[in-house]
C-alpha cells in the first residue's frame, strides 16, 4: 500500500447505496449514462473483493469498525475473512453481472430508473449481511435486502406479481422476525451482539437451544428448506429475470451464510444434537425439489425448484460438521450460485427473444442459439454434479463429509438423487434445444452482447472451478477446518 489506507470494506458496502439515488436521477436524463453509472457502482465492490484476494489467501482478514450508537454500545463493524470472502465474491460478482444483464433485458420496462436504483440497494443489502460483525447490524441488512427485492418482484414481476411479492415478503419477514427474536434473546442473555465476543460466551444451555431453533427458522426460510419453501418457486419464477438470477443465485445463500457464521460458528455445541433433524430436512428438500422440478413445464419454475433441491445439498454439507463436508457445502454455494445464475440468464434469453417459457412450446433452438444451449447444458450438468464441472468439485466433498461423519445411508440417498437432477435438466434441454422446432425460427437469434457477456463469464467459471479451484478451495478449507468439530 502507498501509505493511504482506504476503508475498503465501507466502500464495498456503501458505494451502491450512495450511487443508487444518483443512478435514479441520471437515468431520467440519459439511459446510457445511468446504465454506465450503475455498472460502475456494481463493479467497484467486485473489484475491491478481487483486490483483497491476496490478503485473504494469505490467511489475513480485514476489519473496520466505527461507533454507531454509543448509548447501546453498538458498533458498525465490518469483517472480511475467509468465511465471508466466498460469499462476498459471489454477491459482488453476480450483482455486477446482473446489472449488466438488466441494461438490455429491462430496457423497455416501465419505471426503469427506479428498478436500477432498487437493484443496487438490493446488492448492497446482501453484501452487508455477510460483512456485518454484529448480529443487530446483520438483521438490519437482512431487512435491507428484503425490502428492495419485494418491490422488484411486486412491480416488475410477471403473473400475479402483487400477490407473489406479498407472499415472498410475509414468508421471509416471518423468518426474519424469528431470527430477530433469537437475536434479542441473545442480547438479553449476554449483553452483546458482537459475533467475536459471542463465540466465547455462548454455551449449550437450554435457552441457547431455543435461540438456535429461532435463528435456524430465519435461515431456513431464506434457504427455502422444506417445509418453508413454497415462497421460492413463486418468487423466483415470477421475478424479472435479473432478479431471479440474484434471488436464486445469491440471496438464498445468505441463509447459508447465517448457518455457517452463526449456527456452526457460534453454536457448534448445539449443532450435533440436531444433526439428524437437519440432515433429514435437507434430504427431504433435495428430493422434494427434484421431484417437483421433474414435472414442471415452465423453465423458470423448474429452475426454482432445482434451487430448493440444491439448497438441500448445501445444508447437507454444512450439517455434516466434517471439515470436508463444510468445505464442500461452502464451495457448492459458489458453484450453485454461478450455475444457477447462468441458467436463469438463459431462461431470460428465451423470454427476451421468444417471449416463451413453456418448455413444451419450445424446441430445436440449439442451432439458432448455440451459446444459450451450451450455457444451459453446462449449467445444468454442473448442478447435477457432472465432472469436470464446478458442481462435481463441491458435491464430492459434500458426500465425502457425509461418509466421514458416518451418515452412510443418508449420503447414499443424496448421491442417488443426483440422477434425478441430471434427469430433469436433460429433459428440459431436450425439450427446449433439441427435437424439431415448433415455430419458424428464421428470425430467432442468440443473446445480445450485454446478455451474452455475463453468460460467457459464468460459463468460464462453471467450467474452470471444476478442476482449477486451488486458490478458492484454499480459502474455504481454512474456514472449514476452523468450523469442523470432527
Amino acid at each position: 500500500m502507498d501509505g493511504v489506507t482506504l476503508p475498503l470494506l465501507s466502500i464495498t458496502l456503501f458505494t451502491q447505496l450512495l450511487f443508487s439515488p444518483a443512478v435514479y436521477l441520471s437515468m431520467k436524463r440519459s439511459k446510457l449514462f445511468g446504465d454506465l453509472l450503475a455498472i460502475v457502482a456494481s463493479f467497484i465492490p467486485f473489484s475491491i473483493t478481487i483486490y483483497l484476494f491476496n490478503t485473504i489467501y494469505n490467511g489475513l482478514s480485514i476489519y473496520e469498525e466505527y461507533w454507531w450508537i454509543p448509548a447501546f454500545k453498538l458498533k458498525l463493524g465490518l469483517l472480511l475473512d475467509s468465511t465471508s470472502y466466498p460469499f462476498s465474491l459471489l454477491i459482488s460478482l453476480m450483482g455486477f453481472l446482473a446489472t449488466i444483464y438488466s441494461t438490455k433485458y429491462m430496457e423497455h420496462e416501465h419505471g426503469y430508473p427506479t428498478y436500477m436504483a432498487l437493484l443496487l440497494m438490493f446488492n448492497a443489502g446482501m453484501i452487508g449481511v455477510v460483512l456485518a460483525t454484529n448480529l443487530f447490524l446483520l438483521y438490519i441488512f437482512w431487512e435491507l435486502m428484503l425490502i428492495p427485492s419485494y418491490f422488484l418482484i411486486a412491480y416488475w414481476g410477471t403473473g400475479k406479481p402483487r400477490i407473489i411479492g406479498f407472499k415472498y415478503f410475509i414468508f421471509t419477514h416471518a423468518g426474519a422476525l424469528a431470527m430477530l427474536f433469537g437475536i434479542i434473546w441473545i442480547y438479553v442473555l449476554y449483553g452483546t451482539l458482537e459475533i467475536p465476543q459471542l463465540s466465547i460466551l455462548i454455551t449449550s444451555s437450554p435457552e441457547n437451544f431455543y435461540i438456535f431453533i429461532l435463528i435456524f427458522i430465519g435461515a431456513a426460510v431464506k434457504m427455502a428448506i422444506f417445509p418453508f419453501h413454497t415462497w421460492l418457486p413463486d418468487a423466483h419464477a415470477e421475478a424479472p429475470t435479473p432478479i431471479s438470477v440474484l434471488l436464486s443465485g445469491v440471496m438464498i445463500k445468505t441463509g447459508a451464510y447465517v448457518v455457517v457464521r452463526i449456527l456452526i460458528g457460534l453454536y457448534s455445541s448445539i449443532m450435533p444434537s440436531l444433526t439428524s433433524l437437519l440432515i433429514i430436512l435437507s434430504l427431504i428438500s433435495m428430493i422434494w425439489g427434484g421431484l417437483m422440478a421433474m414435472v414442471q413445464i415452465d423453465v423458470k419454475r423448474l429452475l426454482a425448484y432445482s434451487s430448493i433441491s440444491q439448497m438441500g445439498y448445501i445444508l447437507f454439507g454444512l450439517t455434516t460438521m466434517d471439515s470436508i463436508g463444510i468445505a464442500g457445502g461452502i464451495f457448492h454455494i459458489l458453484n450453485h450460485g454461478f450455475a444457477k445464475g447462468l441458467l436463469f440468464m438463459c431462461s431470460g434469453v428465451l423470454i427476451h427473444i421468444l417471449n416463451e417459457r413453456d418448455i413444451n412450446k419450445l424446441g430445436g433452438l440449439a442451432s439458432r442459439m448455440p451459446l444459450t444451449a451450451i450455457a444451459m447444458l453446462l449449467g445444468g450438468l454442473s448442478i447435477a454434479g457432472t465432472p469436470p464441472l464446478g458442481g462435481f468439485a463441491s458435491e464430492w466433498m459434500i458426500f465425502g463429509g457425509g461418509f466421514n461423519s458416518g451418515l452412510t445411508i443418508y449420503t447414499a440417498i443424496a448421491i442417488a438423487n443426483t440422477a434425478i437432477t441430471a434427469g430433469y435438466y436433460l429433459r428440459m434441454i431436450r425439450a427446449v434445444f433439441f427435437l424439431q422446432p415448433k415455430h419458424d425460427l428464421s428470425k430467432v437469434h442468440d443473446a445480445p452482447i450485454s446478455m451474452a457477456m455475463p453468460m460467457s463469464i459464468l460459463i468460464l467459471l462453471v467450467v474452470i472451478l471444476g478442476f482449477l479451484n486451488y486458490p478458492i478451495i484454499t480459502i474455504i478449507s481454512r474456514t472449514a477446518s476452523q468450523l469442523a468439530v470432527i
Binding site: L291, A393, G400, F403, G423, Y470
Partner: protein, 634 residues
C-alpha cells in the same frame, strides 16, 4: 518414451479440442485435418510408452491438486501395461476412426461439434485409463459419458436420437451413482483416492481386522456397479442398442472400441492394483468375484440371443458388443491370472474387430442409405473391400482361426475350465455358438443374400479415406491374435510368466463351437435348408421370437417405471405441493382475513360503545391488578 508421454497423451487432445471450432471457422478442411492430426499426435505419445512398460514395469507420477482441509489430493498418472494398452487402443484406433470420419461425415451439418466431442472423448478416455486415483478416474468417467451423450444425440432434431442420448446418460448415471458411493466410502474409510495407497491401506486393515469383509465386498460391488453401467451389462444394458442412433464412427469408437471398455478396465484395475491376487487370495472375496463372473456370463448369453433376431445392421453388432463385454467380465470374475490375461487379450482383439465391424457397417449404410438388413443383400460384388474387411471382422468375432478372436476366446474357455466353474463354462460356450450364428446371419443378409429391392443397383465402394482405415483395422484383427499368441508377445508385455498350454478340452470345445456354429449358419442361412421362419411355426418358437424381439420386455419395464415415477410426481405436486402445503399458506392468510373481518365489526365508530369498551377493559385490568396484589384469590 517421448517426454511427458503419460501426461501429454491425454492433455494434448483435451486442450487441443478447445481450438477445433476456431479451425473450422478458417475452413472445414483445416478443421478436419487439425482434429485428426491431434489424435495421431496423441497416439504417438501413447505408443511411445510401450517399450517403457514392456515386461510389466510400472511407475506413478503425481502432482498436488486440490488443497482440502487435511492435506492435499494429488493428481497423477499410473503407467503400467494395462493403462498403456488402454491408452493405445483409445488413441491409435481412435485416430483411424477419426480419419474414417472425414469421409463418412463429409456432408453433415455441425461438424465442429462432432470433432470437438470426438477429440474431447479421446482425451477423456486416455485420461481415464492413465489416472492413478479414483477421483480423477470418476471425473474422466463422466467426461466420456458426457461426450457419449452429446454424440449419440448428434442428430438432435431426430426425436429418437435426442431420446437415446438421455437414456444413455441417465442409465449409466445409475451405475455411476453406485460407483461414486463406493468411491466415497473407500475415501472415508482410508482417507485417500490413490490406488496404491488404497492397496496398502486395504491389506493393512484386512490383516488388522479393522475393516469387515462384508463391508469391503459391498464397496467392491458398488464400484462394480459403475462398470455394469458403462459396459452395458444386465440390468443396465438397455442404453447401448439405442445408442446406435449416433453416427457410425461414434458407435465404432465409443460404443465398441473404447468407452464401453471402461467398465472392463475398472474391474481389471481393481483386481490388478487395488486387490492384487498375491496378497488377497481370491477365496476371501469369493462373493465379489462370483458377482462379476455371473453378471458377465449371463449378460453374454442373453445379449447374444437378442442379437439373433434384430434387423438393424448396427443393433446386431451392438448386442454383440454387450455379449463380448460380458465374456471379458466373466473371465475377469474367474479370479485367476489366466482369466485376467485372457480378458485383457480379448479386450484388445475385440477393440480391433468390433471397430472394424462398425466401420464396415457404416460403409454399407453410407452406400445403401438404410439400416435394415432385410432390405440389403448382394453387396459383396459392389463393395468388395467392405465385404472382405467385414468378413475378417466377422470371422474374428466368431472365433475362427487364425483370426484374433479365436486365440483370446480360447484362453477364456481355458480359464473357465481351469477354475472349474461349470455354469460359466457352459454359458461361455453357448454364447460363442450363438455369436457364430448371428454374425453369420449378418454377413449373409448384407452381402450374400438375394437383393430384395432395386436400391442396391447404384451402390459403389466407399472412398479411400474410409476404406484405408478399414484395411488397417482388418490387418490388425487378422494378425494381432496369431502374432501375439505365437511369440508370447502379449504375456511378455504384461510381464506374466506362464506356460498356458491350451488343454485338449478347450480345443475340443472350440472345435465344437466352430463346427456347430458353422453348420447351423450354413443350414439356416446360406443353403436355406432350414429357413429361419421354420423356428417360428410352433407356439414356443413364436413366443420366444416375440420375447427376443421385445428384448425380454426389460426396456418396456423401465419405461413403465419412469412413467410411473413421473406420473406419481405429478400427482404429488398437485395434491401435496399445490393442494396441501401451498394451499395451507393461503388458508392461513384467508383465516387471518376472516378473523379481521369479524373483529372489524367492533369498530363501529359510535362513542358510546367505545367508551363502554374502555371502561370494560379498565375494569378487567383493575381486577387482574387486585388479584396479583392480594394473591391467593385464585
Amino acid at each position: 518414451m517421448l517426454p511427458y508421454s503419460p501426461w501429454l497423451s491425454w492433455i494434448i487432445p483435451l486442450i487441443g479440442c478447445v481450438f477445433i471450432p476456431l479451425f473450422f471457422k478458417l475452413s472445414k478442411r483445416i478443421g478436419e485435418v487439425y482434429s485428426v492430426a491431434l489424435i495421431f499426435l496423441a497416439s504417438a505419445f501413447s505408443l511411445s510408452m510401450i517399450p517403457d512398460v514392456w515386461g510389466g514395469k510400472s511407475w506413478v507420477e503425481k502432482i498436488p491438486w486440490i488443497p482440502i482441509p487435511r492435506g492435499f489430493i494429488e493428481a497423477g498418472v499410473i503407467v503400467d501395461p494395462l493403462s498403456v494398452l488402454m491408452a493405445c487402443i483409445a488413441t491409435f484406433i481412435g485416430a483411424w476412426i477419426m480419419l474414417y470420419s472425414i469421409g463418412y461425415m463429409a456432408h453433415e451439418e455441425g461438424l465442429p461439434r462432432y470433432y470437438f466431442f470426438m477429440v474431447f472423448f479421446i482425451g477423456g478416455m486416455t485420461g481415464l485409463v492413465m489416472a492413478n486415483n479414483f477421483l480423477q478416474l470418476y471425473i474422466f468417467w463422466e467426461i466420456v459419458g458426457l461426450c457419449s451423450y452429446a454424440l449419440i444425440g448428434f442428430y438432435y432434431r431426430k426425436p429418437e436420437a435426442a431420446h437415446a442420448g438421455i437414456k444413455a446418460f441417465v442409465t449409466t448415471r445409475v451405475g455411476d451413482v453406485l460407483m461414486l458411493i463406493g468411491i466415497m466410502i473407500l475415501y472415508s474409510l482410508f482417507g485417500t483416492f490413490d490406488y496404491s495407497q488404497l492397496n496398502h491401506a486395504l491389506s493393512h486393515s484386512l490383516k488388522e481386522g479393522t475393516v469387515s469383509l462384508p463391508l469391503l465386498i459391498t464397496v467392491l460391488v458398488l464400484l462394480f456397479g459403475g462398470a455394469v453401467g458403462k459396459s452395458a451389462q444386465i440390468p443396465l444394458h438397455v442404453w447401448l442398442p439405442d445408442a446406435m442412433e449416433g453416427p457410425t464412427p461414434v458407435s465404432a469408437l465409443i460404443h465398441a472400441a473404447t468407452m464401453v471398455k471402461a467398465g472392463i478396465y475398472l474391474t481389471a484395475r481393481l483386481t490388478l492394483t487395488i486387490i492384487p491376487f498375491e496378497e488377497f487370495p481370491p477365496t476371501i472375496l469369493h462373493q465379489w468375484y462370483m458377482t462379476v463372473a455371473y453378471i458377465g456370463a449371463v449378460t453374454a448369453f442373453f445379449a447374444a440371443t437378442m442379437g439373433l433376431v434384430m434387423t438393424d445392421i448396427k443393433r446386431i453388432v451392438a448386442y454383440s458388443t454387450i455379449s463380448q463385454l460380458g465374456l471379458m467380465l466373466a473371465s475377469l470374475g474367474l479370479a485367476s491370472e489366466l482369466g485376467w490375461t485372457a480378458s485383457t487379450f480379448h479386450l484388445l482383439n475385440h477393440s480391433l474387430f468390433k471397430a472394424l465391424l462398425f466401420l464396415s457397417a457404416g460403409s454399407v449404410m453410407h452406400a445403401v442409405g438404410t439400416t435394415n438388413i432385410d432390405e440389403m443383400g448382394g453387396l459383396a460384388k459392389s463393395m468388395p473391400i467392405t465385404f472382405s474387411t467385414s468378413l475378417i471382422g466377422a470371422l474374428a468375432l466368431a472365433g475362427v482361426p487364425p483370426f484374433s478372436g479365436f486365440f483370446s476366446k480360447d484362453l477364456i474357455i481355458e480359464a473357465s475350465l481351469e477354475v472349474g466353474s461349470t455354469p460359466i463354462y457352459l454359458l461361455i460356450t453357448f454364447t460363442s455358438i450363438l455369436t457364430f450364428i448371428y454374425i453369420g446371419r449378418w454377413i449373409y443378409k448384407i452381402f450374400l443374400a438375394q437383393p430384395k429391392h432395386s436400391v442396391n443397383h447404384h451402390v459403389h465402394e466407399s472412398p479411400p479415406v474410409m476404406t484405408i482405415p478399414l484395411i488397417v483395422l482388418a490387418v490388425g484383427a487378422t494378425i494381432s491374435g496369431i502374432y501375439l499368441e505365437t511369440t508370447h508377445g502379449f504375456t511378455d508385455y504384461l510381464g506374466i510368466k506362464m506356460e498356458h498350454g491350451v488343454g485338449y478340452l478347450t480345443l475340443l470345445t472350440s472345435s465344437a463351437i466352430i463346427l456347430f456354429g458353422a453348420s447351423m449358419t450354413y443350414l439356416v442361412y446360406f443353403s436355406g435348408k432350414i429357413p429361419p421362419e421354420r423356428f417360428r411355426i410352433n407356439a414356443l418358437g413364436y413366443q420366444l421370437h416375440k420375447l427376443l424381439l421385445n428384448r425380454y420386455y426389460v426396456d418396456a419395464l423401465y419405461y413403465k417405471f419412469v412413467d410411473w415415477f413421473i406420473d406419481s410426481s405429478r400427482i404429488v405436486r398437485r395434491t401435496v405441493e399445490d393442494g396441501g402445503i401451498d394451499r395451507f399458506n393461503y388458508l392461513v392468510a384467508d383465516g387471518v382475513k376472516g378473523a379481521v373481518n369479524v373483529l372489524r365489526n367492533i369498530q363501529t365508530g359510535s362513542s358510546n360503545i367505545n367508551v363502554g369498551g374502555i371502561l370494560l377493559g379498565l375494569a378487567i385490568l383493575i381486577l387482574i391488578f387486585l388479584a396479583l396484589l392480594y394473591g391467593g384469590l385464585w
